[in-house]
Symmetry: C2
Subunit: 156 residues, 2 copies
């Protein structure tokens, strides 16, 4: 009987609490809502914030790559970048080798802005993992990597 190895049969049978995607949506719903609260005041949106976060780590990336890393639709991202550029937080620059493509660079002001928001993200993260042993957190992270590899459709 090599049954049920992976896919649960019916949602009713396994229950919401044993269906990981459900739990992950619940968790990320809270996480994102709490960040949104924090940012709303300062005229920052989720796509903008995510863009800055990614750029603070990987600068000079192509827009299409940023869309993937930041988990934002490209058209939405395009407009978010308009806003960030208008505020001087990022700078767009046509790629040298391919003039269709655009690279995005974070400015000093952009970094400073992100640093101001980072504590809220760190706090949200800490709350998520409070009272969870380091070893368990490591194992969790390792599984997340496997899952991402399973679902992503890109090279990164």
């Amino acid at each position: 009987m090599k049954d049920q190895a992976s896919a649960p049969r019916r949602l009713g049978e396994i229950g919401l609490n044993n269906f990981p995607p459900y739990l992950m949506n619940r968790i990320m719903g809270r996480y994102n809502a709490s960040l949104r609260e924090d940012m709303a005041h300062q005229g920052m949106s989720t796509p903008k914030m995510r863009s800055l976060a990614v750029l603070s780590v990987i600068d000079g990336i192509l827009i299409r790559e940023l869309a993937i890393y930041a988990v934002v639709e490209q058209s939405t991202l395009s407009r978010a970048l308009d806003g960030l550029a208008a505020d001087g937080l990022i700078r767009r620059e046509t790629d040298r080798e391919d003039s269709r493509a655009t690279r995005v660079f974070i400015t000093e002001k952009g970094r400073a802005t992100f640093e101001r928001h980072w504590p809220a993200m760190a706090r949200a993260h800490d709350q998520m993992f409070q009272d969870i042993p380091q070893a368990e957190q490591q194992a969790f992270l390792a599984t997340l990597h496997k899952i991402l590899r399973n679902v992503r459709r890109n090279e990164f």
Copy 2:
């Protein structure tokens, strides 16, 4: 040195790939996008789908509870329910004990509709966890439960 127990110092130092909320957003972004593709054709939206999914497990729930379980803003949910009711997939009924509140019930047609969509959810789930041992999946699930308990603000 009881440092760094939980909150990483700066995102740049730890990297996106070691920041669980980032990975979870990436993963759920894909999961939800893939479901959305599947549903768009059949005039079904994410809030509608999530409502049916929750109701298929917990029927006769209050709207405000459904909003939490389904991870949907209440005003958005209200309109999603309008749509579902119009299609005869759910039924709203004023609560007996508190006539401000409304309970939502899934109809047979609603169940049937959910069953039609369920395979796509199961498929997405299977893809996520392919090649991940059962024991690891169990551990992952256990950690998700802890995290949800850490972040939720409600009794459920």
